[in-house]
Subunit: 499 residues, 2 copies
């Protein structure tokens, strides 16, 4: 490709990333420091920026440049062009009328969902969900490209992934998990630290979370942590990564695991390839891979016995009275309790995936036309009873519990489980490469884990799609076996059960 | 004008304001919470947004729409069109090459200025200042429109103002101020509270500044206050106005007067006309009028005896030990000490204007070609000796003390003095309309002052230029008499001097 044309393309790529960073800051501020009286003004600013990005992405000149560059033999350039061309195709193929209608319907659907949830009546939300599904079907058909409609939606969050690939994997996972959950939830619980009635002052919790970020190797010169109601990570730029955590004085593990979880996301964002900070390689490869980072840190490291052997003395310095006489084993047991709960966000790491599989299968059936929206609550409750072994008392703690569908997010839920699967594959390889992950954790060498992840995952950026990144890093294809091995080993030992 | 064309114009106006808001947030964040490692990324984001705004402003289609709308008879629309057409003309007339060169030269000139100031050697900065002047001359000539070159620069900060208008006013002010300063600086000082050696904990200072913002009627639901090294106000949107203050534990008045000053700016921003939040009427009319608000609040209200009669009990609740036995009169004397200082930002409200007049006259002479840059330090020191009665020990506390010229800001300094002049005119009228300003202050009815300013100044927005706004609000044209009356009355009484 002619170098002046490539320069123009690269300039446009850079500008798109800059505008994306700006949206990142607007969003972060909205959830943290923005005065509440400016909510309406902020919505207008965000929509002006999003319209701008759409304008630039659908500019015919960008299409010409991408086409001209498609012939470029250079592998790195080809990856940039592939990523941006995919994003552009999604923007170009969907008529502006549909984009507007989706945005407007979503905004009103969220209101309807809130009312429905607070009244615990699915019927109030039903017509909105029907309309959102119709619009998403139309959008998916406009985008096309996959073997079936759902693929176009999944691809937005997990590029390169398909229903054909995950449906059998998820079915296999479900068959294995149901009996494991039944055994653990009904079995004898190991003795756990009981901290009911104790109080953990917020300032000390805050300091401990900063200590944890330091242990993980999160760079507070190129990022920060604040507090928000719903913890999140906002990668404004690889040098400007913002985490939030949530502190409750009676529940110390809320802040601890929120920080570790978001810290895992944050490490990924901070260590994306510096050379590609302003082009389409310098971003996370998928939501599933992103989630693999947060879950590997939160569950596989943060909820390990080795971790608490190492970190309990540090935590004790902040809360000496509350932790008097408490052993690491008691903390380990406390943070790994398997319980049947109707609520996804309360779920332990074993049952969690059953909540996801249920949502995936139901949304897939709705998009395929195999399940009517009117029949959704019944299907939900039946599946909950069958798989998790508990039935919601009402729609508020059942089908209405998550905001995702009110946001018209179909194809997002599977990335949570993909994250767990990827994490387990990565974990097995780290264990081998570092000569024992638990030993490394107990020695307090978490930076070695971070360095491994940086080299094999983070610094790759979006040069390849997620599954290929994991395969190149570990030699393993995506399967459910490593995750099941991890669960059976950990929970078998902790619960003294044969899984 | 055809309604579809007007709609398009209004849409473009709105978008420009939205992008301006985004720049506001990026800037605020840069000075408050941004991790220091992301300075470079932020500079790139800001420059992408500024290039975007320039692109939209110079879009030929906008020119056509403005031309078509110029014929519109509606007074409100005419004001919008006039403001935006002025802004567009400034953008269109300057070649992109010059914009780039100015930006690059400024960036490097600031570095040179920092080095020169730290080494106290003007010679290091001299070639940069020469180059900046050349570029600004070229820019001013490209913009044109005024009776002389300086007008085009002044107009950027004070639309509608001209050298022909302010030069005689400033000369008159100088003649009056020099003897007043001499009398006060050499005279007997009234007995003042001496707080040397006392410590004022930062948390309590912070709480007191929030109390003051409440007293002033600043709406913390539509704005916030944070801390920064250099206090500033950022009106991201009228519903999102962000102030900063600076706290020093040994100098309580730093935070107090920073907050009142920025609070004055903030009230203006919060009370711009709501109906025009996204068009060119909904913004401050000029920097001078903006400064009139901060200075009216800081000096004319915050440094009044009435204010301390009212606020001392509140301050005492935060610092009972430090303020034991202290009377309002002693605070009043402490915050109104007239002293000869070579430093503008340390100056009291009487000498302050002499620092500004000196800068205005020197930069005007340089732009006219009447003063060579090489002769600037000599001219500076001579004027300081003659007017303020003190000579800088070196260039660091002389000609190199301000960053403005390194930013290539010529035509900005006069707005500080214009602010004082406008403030005094407004103050006289408020005094009449509210039946005694001091009484209102002492009764704690600062909201009445705010309401007057909202109605007569803030809510007018940029419907007219600053001088016209002040004239419509007060019936007075811009003169120096009210400001001189204010100073003579206040300091004559406080110092027991005939001024």
């Amino acid at each position: 490709m002619e170098s002046s044309l490539w320069d123009e393309l690269q300039r446009r790529m850079g500008e798109l990333r800059d505008f994306g960073s700006v949206v990142g800051l607007l969003t972060w501020d909205q959830e943290t420091f923005m005065p509440k009286g400016s909510a309406e003004a902020r919505a207008v600013q965000l929509s002006a920026m999003q319209a701008l990005i759409h304008e630039r992405l659908t500019d015919p000149r960008l299409g010409e440049l991408l086409e001209a560059a498609a012939a470029d033999a250079d592998e790195t350039r080809a990856a940039m062009v592939r990523n941006l061309a995919r994003e552009r195709a999604r923007a170009v193929k969907v008529p502006p009328r549909l984009v507007r209608e989706l945005a407007e319907t979503q905004a009103r659907a969220v209101e309807a969902w809130r009312a429905a949830r607070s009244e615990r009546r699915f019927a109030l939300f039903q017509p909105w969900l029907e309309r959102l599904l119709e619009l998403r079907r139309e959008q998916a058909d406009a985008i096309g490209g996959g073997a079936e409609r759902y693929d176009a939606l999944l691809d937005a969050h997990e590029p390169g992934m398909s229903v054909a690939r995950i449906e059998p994997l998820f079915a296999e996972l479900e068959r294995a998990l149901v009996p494991i959950v039944a055994t653990l939830a009904d079995g004898q619980r190991p003795p756990a630290w009981d901290y009911a009635g104790l109080r953990f002052p917020a300032d000390a919790q805050w300091e401990f979370t900063l200590h944890l970020l330091g242990e993980m190797g999160f760079d507070l010169e190129r990022g920060r942590q604040d507090r928000s109601t719903h913890p999140f990570t906002d990668g404004i730029h690889r040098d400007d990564v913002r985490l939030t955590t949530r502190i409750a004085e009676e529940e110390p593990f809320l802040a601890i695991f929120s920080t570790i979880h978001e810290g895992g996301h944050g490490l990924y964002e901070q260590n994306l390839p510096a050379d590609h900070a302003r082009d389409p390689i310098g971003q996370a490869a998928s939501m599933g891979l992103h989630e693999s980072q947060s879950r590997l840190w939160e569950n596989m490291i943060g909820r390990s016995l080795a971790f608490w052997r190492r970190q309990l003395p540090a935590l004790r310095r902040f809360f000496p009275a509350q932790l008097e006489g408490v052993e690491p084993e008691a903390i380990y047991a406390a943070v790994n309790q398997v319980r049947r709960s109707p609520i996804r966000t309360d779920a332990d790491e074993v049952t969690y995936n059953l909540h996801i599989l249920l949502r995936f299968q139901l949304e897939l059936a709705m998009l395929r036309g195999d399940l009517r929206v009117a029949d959704l609550p019944g299907a939900w409750n039946e599946r909950m009873r069958r798989d998790v072994g508990i039935e919601p008392l009402h729609d508020g703690e059942g089908v209405l519990q998550d905001i995702h569908w009110a946001w018209a997010e179909f194809g997002y839920f599977p990335t949570y489980t993909l994250g767990n699967l990827y994490a387990a594959i990565l974990r097995e390889r780290i264990d081998v490469d570092l000569g024992g992950l638990d030993r490394v954790i107990e020695e307090g060498s978490l930076h070695a884990v971070r360095d491994w992840l940086v080299e094999r995952v983070h610094a790759v950026g979006h040069r390849w799609d997620a599954e290929e990144i994991v395969e190149r890093a570990t030699g393993q294809k995506l399967t459910v076996a490593p995750f099941l091995r991890y669960l059976r080993e950990k929970y078998g030992a902790l619960y003294g059960a044969a899984l």
